[in-house]
Amino acid sequence: MTCTWDRDLIALWAGGDAPPEEAERAEAHLRACPACQELLAQYRQGMNLVAAHQAGARLPARAKRATRRWAVAVAAALLLLCAAGAATQSRAVASVLQNLGWFGVEEVSQSEWEQLQEENKELWEKWKPSNFKFDPDGKVRDENGNVIYTLPTRGSVAEAEKAMGYRPLVPRYLPEGLALSHAEYVPGRSIRDINLVYNDGLLEIVSMPEPSSFTVRVREGGAQVLTVSGEPAVVTRGVYRVGENEERMFIPDAPVLRFSKDGLVIIIIMYQNGYPVDELIKIAESME
């Protein structure tokens, strides 16, 4: 049973997509034509199938929390890395970072790196807190009421723990002259990071309970895989620091150590050029 009437129009009408002036025409024909009613049913069936298709699919979490099995496998691979070339090293770096939960790892050349620093300067000028008018709740909203900026809350470690619903890791060992200033956190978000700030920000230690939907940019050859308490870790170099007067300083050789412990991903950042990685490892291994 077929009809040669305007199929395209029926296909549109099936989903309410026919232009208003045509819709009546389609309705009138459909009332009188069983063949096209059948066609309509088929179009609607197709629409339902498409709508239901993979309806429950969810993006798998990229991160796997470092498990013993995995750690053993990577540790074995690490032994091979000593003599490995640059390419193997970068793959290892990317692999460790992604297993720690970073969504992406982007390796950039030295010149791209320098270009990014320039771009970052402009971005920072745009995103300086003093550019914005904060609402009483510490948020900045655009003209539509969407939040575009949130100041973190400052408090004690205990307050941070209460607000974020978990206990962050704290170091038992600290290098000479360093003392905890406060904890920073942003309540009410799916990101539950707690940032421990030492002195005036010379050292920061971040605990992350959830994987980071964030990308790490690694300068070619500027990252290295090592171990912390037998677990795979990565050191990268290069960090921005925000000064008291909102000035932004790039510290190209500042070390950043990322590793996993007790189900949390930890980031240790020392905002000082050439700071010895051994000290960061000592801090890392003392965390509990």
Partner: protein, 175 residues
Amino acid sequence: MEVTRGALYQRAEENALWEEHRDRVYRYLLRLTGERETAEDLAQETFLQAIRDLRRSPGAGANPVAWLMRIATNRAMDLFRRRRRFQWLPFLGDRHGGAAADTAEAVAERELVSAVLRRLPPDLAVVLLLRDAEGFSGPEIAALLDLEQAAVRKRLSRAREAFRTEYLRLRGDGE
């Protein structure tokens, strides 16, 4: 390269955007490509690009989902072009170990729909999915894809007809 303080504020918003919409973007890409790993990779690319765009013009539009879907669509289309997707694939031939079969006995409905979608030309599949799976309106799709509304309607009707025909054919009761 780690940015704290400034990034802590900014990252919260970027990630909130992604947290809310990641599954939806992934689902769309999974329906469009029919391949899990490909969809995951494209989702990641979408996110990376979204972050870059967001930083250049923060608060990109009043409709973040449409904007994400636009990026996702473009990335998928780039991939299809690179892969020259317009080849016809044997229908479950490898799985059943025999020659490509035109009948679809004992095939799960999901595999059938997946197979049908993969056979549609990408520009039709995109409009079909955005309208019938994702629920975007005609005008929204037109904006998302930079098309005239009439062009969207044309693709939509062709897509629904192509789906209908292909579904019937693969199911074994083609006309």
